[in-house]
Point group: C2
Chain length 195, copies 2
DNA sequence: AAAATATGAATGAAGATTCATTTATTAAAC
DNA sequence: GTTTAATAAATGAATCTTCATTCATATTTT
């Protein structure tokens, strides 16, 4: 039976350790120790060190996608949808600070050292934004000349960079809500002064 | 004498190797080979592996800053300044694809494995944007309610995420100019349809 | 008492760094 | 201007440490 659920225990330990040390500086024995498990036990649940990271990506991003989609499905106004996505994305940073750190740093370089791995879950997450933009265009709320491929990246990138700042610096001038609102506001109405 | 300038040769070799393998998978001997230099020679010019990376950051970002500042100084309209910054940033990606890859990936994780290193050059680069935004506010061209700390990150993040896509994927739907223009346009005027 | 889980010491490969030696460059002496 | 000595630059094989992974053994569960 899986009363102790080692799989989950190891994943959670890995998040903690990887957030602090990064993938290459983290030792398997660090993760084992954090999970209160023997080094060898890890290899009963994962094929190798990479496999821990990949599984972590898939499972944790998967959870986030489910949550965000649920929240958005209830809405019909694409503007509000964007707001929800933004707030949810940045909120995640403080609720799951360590996971966020891992995703920010390791996801970026995973392409580099795991050539074959295509992170479809991550793409699925970003595509939530492009669906919202599409919807907004159909409803005549968003400009028709938006290139959804560019707009989704720009929006996601803005949020993500804001999150990075949030994670990496200790002092915060603005609240998470302020930041998220400001970004959505800029994307909806632009930075130009109405005259 | 420095007719062959090993320092420069090693940096350029490092860019190439790190772009392909990433910092942790790159061996010193790989860099040495690429630079056509003995392994030991590298240690006559750099203290250790980290030192190569840090020096690379400082020197190469430094060059970019000088260039961008030159281009912007000639302008007075903050809108145009933003355009120049955007175009220049994304252009860099194709002109120095390998450098861009290193910056995208390694800069992100450098905080993780070099706790003491504060990348002031990088901050200086991003601050170019916040200066532009400030200027725009003073001139009553940009909204006064913009939080420059958030807006600069959002703008930079949007560009950077776009660049990442450009670097990592091989097929490109839009040109660099299209992408840069679209992003600036969104930031200036928003995504909402004028009705 | 099988079968399934878990352990952690031992193995072996990898690769950053060192340093004794070689080669190239500059200066000095004649 | 040629030979010799001193200094600087470069080499790359050897060293030494650091883990990921394995597996013979032990423990727990059924």
């Amino acid at each position: 039976m899986r009363t102790s659920d080692k799989h989950q225990k190891i994943i959670q330990a890995a998040i903690k350790v990887l957030a602090n040390k990064g993938f290459f500086n983290a030792r398997i024995s660090d993760i084992a120790k954090e999970a209160q498990v023997a080094d060898g036990t890890i290899y009963l649940y994962f094929n190798n060190k990479y496999d821990i990271l990949i599984t972590l990506f898939e499972e944790e991003i998967g959870k986030i996608i489910v949550l965000v989609k649920q929240l958005i499905e209830k809405e019909t106004d694409p503007k509000i949808m964007l707001e929800i996505f933004a707030l949810q994305h940045i909120k995640m940073m403080e609720e799951k600070k360590e996971l966020a750190e891992v995703l920010q740093v390791e996801l970026r370089q995973s392409n580099k050292f795991m050539k074959e791995y295509r992170n479809t879950k991550f793409i699925e997450y970003i595509d939530i934004v492009s669906h919202i933009i599409h919807l907004g265009q159909e409803k005549n709320i968003f400009r028709k000349d938006l290139l959804p491929g560019v707009a989704k990246r720009a929006f996601f990138g803005a949020l993500d960079e804001m999150s990075r700042l949030w994670i990496l610096s200790s002092s915060h001038r603005y609240t998470i809500e302020q930041s998220a609102n400001q970004i959505v506001d800029i994307f909806l109405y632009g930075m130009t002064e109405k005259t």
